[in-house]
Symmetry: C2
Subunit: 131 residues, 2 copies
């Protein structure tokens, strides 16, 4: 369960059941105070975090050593309301000592089998992956 | 654009284009260190934040005065991989000086017209609202 409480303006604080807190906010021109993530960008963070955990976990089990792993997630929104993402692009950059084929297999297992976030978004947006 | 960088274990840091940062992590039994939100719970925070901003903004434009506004968002996950949310329940609690019909209308406008997050998730999970 996540509890999301209004603070002021359009700023909210989200708290999970373990007590972690994050600020959700929007641009000042919309009535926000720009103190935290935009709601929809939390989807990008969740999607990247979900795939990232799968890939790092699987690649390490295959014996890969990871020095750095970065995902850049961006979305294109529809012009008309409700302005959902029509396309999300995920760019993966992995540095370390690993086999390329193991990275690709880890990515495919996440995309096709394990990642809950991919499963939730693939029916509403085109997902593009660059790896 | 959101940049999500691996830290250690299964802990990641997400940073948006304005420099806001959040920690994404998981349970220790899965290899995480429980220092931040779970990836999929960011979807709940994003969904609640998106609807919350709509409702607060519209209700205030209708002359309502809000003392407190809290959304509790919870999800039921499938047992089998990819374990996506099959049902998400959102409970709204609004206290203040406003007309009940204005709150309901603000909620309906968010759900049916404005909320990008609802539009992205309604095709993959049953959404239940308690208001």
């Amino acid at each position: 369960m996540v509890k999301v409480s209004w603070c002021e303006g359009l700023r909210f604080e989200a708290e999970d059941r373990h007590g972690h807190k994050i600020v959700v906010d929007t641009e000042e021109k919309f009535g926000g105070s720009d103190q935290g993530f935009r709601p929809l960008e939390l989807f990008l963070a969740g999607l990247a975090g979900c795939m990232g955990m799968d890939i790092v976990g699987i690649l390490q089990k295959k014996g890969g050593k990871i020095d750095s792993f970065v995902i850049e997630a961006s979305g294109i929104r529809a012009e008309d309301h409700p302005r959902k993402y029509t396309k999300i692009t995920m760019k993966f950059k992995c540095e370390g000592d690993y086999k390329r084929e193991d990275l690709l297999r880890s990515f495919e297992l996440s995309r096709d089998k394990y990642c809950s976030a991919v499963a939730m978004l693939k029916s509403s947006a085109e997902l593009e992956f660059v790896i």
